[in-house]
């Protein structure tokens, strides 16, 4: 394949463009690729950004199931991590491009099918992420007091479907199953001083519930050891320094680790060193003072795998969890936890399973691998489906931070651009884009929410937030959102 740059190839593909003026009239309408992106989170927006930047004529329409955009940036990133949400500024700029349109309140697979989108657009990119979570698959999982971390995060972040979660925060001890960044997020929100939380964009309802919370102690329980924790150092450091709390790290879990990590890559090494230091070294004076006066605590329990959630006398409420003690086979990232036969019980009234998000199949016509929870693809091209692409978590699996998704989305966009260049995507058939989708939606009684509609909702949230000293007060009822924009 030649390495000629896009500019040269573009001129090659459209000899008509050489005729000034006349060619512009004839060629532009026929040759402007119409592309649609399903999902308005980071994957959707970064894919769109890359397409618009690297193709002068492409039009991209972004569809979103909720009235409001931005996906996990709005509903996943913790309220006390506002800097991470700065990417919204970049996405907003993209949405303002005259070659980009946002259509919220449209559920692909229900209001319009993927096949119908493929008839309207030259290329369809599926970037709808992971809306579900992995289940524990243990008895008692459905008892009151047991929730997925995903639902809990959705609850405090104002995700409409989780607004009525009403988590039971009446017991002193909470157990989080999993040791990733989401686990740390939920532990931190449970234990953060209210002064900090009340200045964030955490929802009013969840703040009120947390203000009445009795939770004093949070255990993060993992099947494997300290060398396999999935959280990252910035989040761990934040937890260690959380005002009003003290860490509970068993020295026995960390003795001797310092030697083991001498040659591991720097990120793992520094992360482990921080845990080891916190567990084994005498704290400095200030820290010792803080820990001594702390009213809340959090800790890490390793090599414990959940077997069963135990119920209280009424048979409905969780009162504890039975866990198997494991040992490790192998080492490093690929170590496996194997039961030893020993079993323990941990008393707790709140259990949050934080073992991973999970994608769902959108439309029965789209290939989906239920085992891996992804759409089968190669470099973002959906297998066996020309013109169909995917990016983000639904392509790779539900892990990674925004930069991971950014690169992945650029990668998929690159595949689309290549296919445009080489003619795999046939531009000679002109596509109507939103024009045809609009009539389909109209006939089904669906009213899309535009980006400027979102900006009205945004302005209302910011105004309400200002009254409460918060960056915004999120509206959690989709009906209220639609009423605000008179739909």
């Amino acid at each position: 394949m030649g390495s000629s740059c896009g500019r040269v190839c573009w001129k090659w593909r459209s000899p008509l463009r050489r005729l000034a003026g006349f060619s512009r009239l004839l060629s532009t309408a026929a040759l402007a690729p119409q592309i649609c992106v399903v999902g308005s989170g980071p994957a959707g927006f970064y894919t769109t950004q890359h397409l618009l930047k690297h193709h002068r004529l492409a039009r991209v329409d972004i569809y979103e199931k909720l009235p409001v955009p931005f996906g996990l940036v709005r509903f996943g990133v913790a309220p006390d991590h506002p800097e991470v949400k700065n990417v919204i500024n970049s996405f907003t700029q993209t949405a303002h491009s005259d070659r980009c349109s946002y259509y919220g309140n449209v559920t692909i697979g229900k209001d319009v099918t993927v096949k119908e989108l493929q008839q309207a657009y030259h290329a369809v990119v599926l970037s709808y992420g992971a809306e579900d979570n992995r289940i524990l698959g243990i008895p008692g999982e459905n008892l009151s007091g047991v929730y997925s971390a995903r639902a809990f995060v959705g609850w405090y972040n104002g995700l409409p479907e989780n607004r009525d979660l009403k988590p039971d925060l009446s017991s002193e001890t909470a157990v989080v199953l999993g040791q990733g960044n989401v686990a740390l997020d939920v532990a931190r929100v449970l234990l953060s001083p209210l002064d900090i939380l009340r200045k964030t964009d955490i929802t009013e309802g969840s703040l009120a519930a947390i203000a009445c919370s009795k939770v004093k102690r949070v255990w993060l329980v993992g099947r494997r050891g300290p060398l396999q924790v999935a959280f990252t150092i910035k989040e761990l450091r934040e937890m260690i320094n959380l005002p009003g709390t003290r860490p509970l790290l068993a020295p026995a879990d960390f003795t001797g680790l310092g030697d083991v990590i001498k040659d591991v890559p720097r990120p793992r090494k520094r992360l482990t060193e921080l845990m080891v230091k916190s567990a084994l070294e005498k704290p400095g004076e200030k820290e010792a003072g803080r820990w001594a006066s702390a009213t809340k605590e959090w800790g890490l329990k390793f090599q414990r795998s959940p077997l069963e959630v135990l119920s209280a006398a009424d048979g409905k409420q969780a009162r504890g969890i039975r866990i198997a003690v494991t040992r490790l086979e192998g080492s490093g990232e690929s170590a496996r936890a194997v039961p030893t036969g020993e079993v323990e019980e941990l008393e707790c009234g709140l259990i949050l399973s934080s073992i991973g998000y999970r994608s769902l199949p959108l439309d029965s016509a789209i290939p989906f691998d239920p085992k891996l929870g992804i759409i089968p693809n190669s470099l973002g091209r959906v297998q066996g489906e020309p013109g169909l692409y995917c990016s983000g978590w639904v392509k790779r699996g539900p892990t990674g931070v925004i930069i991971t998704t950014m690169n992945d989305s650029f990668d998929t966009a690159q595949s689309v651009l290549e296919d445009l260049q080489t003619g795999v995507l046939n531009l000679s058939s002109s596509k109507e884009g939103f024009k045809s989708v609009r009539s389909i939606l109209h006939s089904r009684g669906v009213h899309p929410v535009t980006f400027s509609d979102w900006e009205k909702i945004d302005a209302a949230e910011v105004a309400r937030g200002k009254l409460a000293g918060k960056p915004r007060e999120k509206i959690v009822d989709p009906q209220e959102m639609l009423q605000l924009i008179s739909h």
């Binding site: 390495s3 740059c5 896009g6 190839c9 573009w10 970064y46 890359h50 618009l52 930047k53 690297h54 002068r56 006390d80 991590h81 506002p82 800097e83 991470v84 700065n86 990417v87 500024n89 970049s90 907003t92 700029q93 993209t94 303002h96 953060s192 900090i196 200045k199 990252t232 910035k234 450091r237 934040e238 320094n241 959380l242 005002p243 890559p265 720097r266 990120p267 520094r270 992360l271 060193e273 921080l274 230091k277 916190s278 400095g284 820290e287 190669s378 470099l379 925004i402 930069i403 991971t404 950014m406 690169n407 992945d408 650029f410 990668d411 690159q414 651009l417 290549e418 260049q421 960056p471």
Partner: protein
């Protein structure tokens, strides 16, 4: 033909640098080099940008601030920003002299050399944003140490002379792809006069590596 570009000012941001009260040892030079091949120029992109395309907007000039060591900062600081999407750009005032202008070269992922003149005191992120340099996805978190997209690779001798790296920067750098012994985050490195003629490398990303592997496989 340049399209009309709508500049959105990102007004002065404080870089919230949470100092860890724990790990006090500053790590320098004790970094495992993950992949020497990251330094190599990557294959030219199949499609080069046709336009300057979308811009992050201009960052108003600000000093590289470091928050005092004794700051009792809460879990995370809210950077002070007033961001309005309807604001048009107001230009950073141009200096009359070239005295505090510093030339910086960025070697992009496709090998292209992008040259910019920077003002002393600007961070390299500001330089990229203000000069609209065509580097995909650079500076996602707008200089708040919440991502690693402004990761840059320096020459050894320049690297050694940079201001000491903090734990907060190291924490984010740890997540960067293609980390090297001479990597830093562009938002934390401020331009000095002595850096005139500086050349930095924009690292390849994992997606680029995977693509190269795929292309390599197919051509066999």
């Amino acid at each position: 033909m340049e399209a009309v570009l709508d500049f959105l000012p990102l007004s002065a941001v404080l870089i919230p640098q949470k100092l860890a009260s724990l790990a006090t040892k500053k790590e320098r030079g004790n970094i495992k080099q993950d992949s020497a091949s990251m330094m190599a120029r990557c294959a030219p992109r199949l499609i080069r940008p046709l336009l300057n395309g979308l811009n992050l907007g201009k960052v108003q000039s600000f000093q590289c601030l470091r928050i005092a060591e004794h700051s009792q900062a809460p879990a995370s600081l809210q950077p002070e920003r007033s961001f309005s999407s309807t604001h048009r750009l107001h230009d950073v005032p141009r200096d009359t002299g070239s005295a505090d202008r510093v030339t910086v070269h960025f070697i992009n992922r496709d090998g292209e050399r992008l040259t910019a003149t920077a003002k002393e005191g600007q961070s390299l992120l500001e330089v990229v944003v203000n000069q609209n340099l065509d580097i995909d996805g650079f500076g996602a978190c707008e200089g708040t140490l919440a991502c690693s997209t402004c990761h840059l690779i320096f020459e050894e001798d320049v690297f050694q002379k940079l201001d000491a790296i903090t734990d907060e920067e190291l924490d984010m750098l740890d997540l960067a792809y293609g980390l090297t012994d001479t990597s830093r985050l562009g938002c934390q490195v401020c331009v000095k006069k002595a850096m005139d003629g500086l050349t930095v490398q924009v690292p390849m990303e994992v997606a680029d590596m995977r693509r190269e592997l795929e292309v390599g496989k197919q051509s066999k």
